[in-house]
Amino acid sequence: MTHSFVPTGVELLRLSPEILLVLAGTLLLVLEGLTGAKRGRELGRLALVALGAALLASLAAARQPGLAFSGSISADGFATFFRLVVIAAGLLVALFSGPYLRRESAERGEYYALLLYSVAGQCLMASANELIVLFIALETSSIASYVLAGYLRADRRANEAAVKYFLLGSFASAFLLYGIALIYGEAGSTWLGQIRAALAGPPGSATPLAGAAAAFLFAGFAFKVSAAPFQVWAPDVYQGAPAPVAAFLSAGPKAAAFAGLLRVFMTAFEPVSASWEGIVWVSALATMIVGNLAALLQSNIKRLLAYSSIAHAGYVMVAVTAHSSIGTAAAMFYLAAYVFMNVGAFAVVSYFARQGERYVHVDDLAGLAWRQPVVAALLSLLLLSLIGVPLTGGFFGKFYVFTAALEAGLVWLTVLGLLNSAVAAYYYLRILVVMYMREPSEAAADLAAPPAPVRAALWASALATLILGIFPSTVLEYASKAAALAP
């Protein structure tokens, strides 16, 4: 551990994506003040450039892997993987937010600034190697997203989403923090490596405090990834928040929280895995069941996607339960595939909903295939991937997750998980049937062609889903190498 407080050049490089995003966000706020709030469109383009630059910065940082800032940041392959995923998600959302916000006459620089801050927090969460840095990262991401959820201030639904997200999110943060405090008492340190060393002492030396800390930390993370029994906020928040924000909340914060969960539990708490395995097992199963069964009953498409995203968190939780490096790699692959398919599906919702989000029911999509065949085809691809049909990223995601679970001897969890994904096929297929087999509804009849940014986001997510489905081995190999987390 170095004792110099002046960061070296290479340390700054390892943190460059986060530094860049925070600077760009602040620049947007300043520019908005200077130009007088009429330049939302240009500021949006600037945000896209900043996200693109952060993507490149993550790749540059990946060429110099290692620790930074007295070991509190770890720019390893794991961090790079999740940085790329959350920045790509932010990029797609920023892309199709423009048309949506212009329609609501609410395109301002602050939206993009908050988006950049939130992505910066998520990147930091993926690379944090110390619990307080992790907590600060989580809060940076969360506080910005509370504001984003209520971004349309005059909208009663958005208000409700924001207040629920804020209250339950802060409640969860308190749990996470109490977990940190307990483990600090047990291990005398908040560095993941030192906690691991302290917990790895002779068997029987770990007190029940370690188990309690693991439970509190798990509760905090479970809120953020909307895993049962802490999933109640997700449907209301996704339904009430503006559609692009719902897309964002379902992708970046969830992937980043899983990154934090995986890193903490696979390194620091690995020696006491017996104390948390059971909790994660139950949570994985409950999350899958709650998400899928409730999704069957939904007619609002945003709520349906919310429950579906809960179910997907359950599948990732299965990979966490396996707690092996194969499981970690499977979770990473699954999250990459999930982010693209989910953001793509929400992109269609944000375009289809029209002003004031009038058309958000599954039945409104009736006959979409006759009016906008390309949009319908791309959405079908994304939905098939969410089901887990072969040749899509979703298929290999599930395949790797359940393979990892079987190798860890979790036979029952695998069987129940597979049953769950069969149930899930029903509600995704219902959307397909409505789009292709019904006469065009009034909502689909007067639908204009999607604006270019929405088209670009949709094509990009569909292509990413296909690439992950046709050439999964490249990504999986990278994930497998990165999954061997150094404590």
Binding site: V163, F166, S170, L177, G185
Partner: protein, 104 residues
């Protein structure tokens, strides 16, 4: 151990009680501002734990951590009260039961 002779466990038990009180208040209270205050109580329970442990471990780390928690709590309060204010403007109420429009 400590100067005044109060053992570490007393502090930890007090903090755990405060945390539980906060969590229970959050679950049972229906006023959004009160719920928010309960979260602050939970955060202060965490701070008490950090400070007591730092004293016990003779480390400065725990004291610094408490400062970080305070900073984050302040940021959360700023955003949270702003959100509560917009809710009040739109509904003229801060009862969580009256903020229940989102249902299928």
């Amino acid at each position: 151990m400590s100067a005044a002779g109060v053992p570490l466990s007393w502090y930890l038990v007090l903090a755990a009680l405060l945390f539980t009180l906060g969590a229970a208040g959050f679950i049972f209270r229906r006023n959004i501002i009160t719920m928010f205050m309960c979260i602050e109580l939970m955060l202060n329970a965490v701070n008490l734990t950090f400070v007591a442990l730092a004293y016990h471990l003779r480390q400065v780390d725990g004291l610094v951590l408490a400062f970080f928690v305070m900073v984050v709590a302040a940021a959360e309060a700023a955003v949270g009260l702003a959100i509560i204010l917009t809710v009040f403007r739109n509904r003229a109420s801060v009862q969580i039961d009256e903020v229940q429009a989102l249902k299928d």
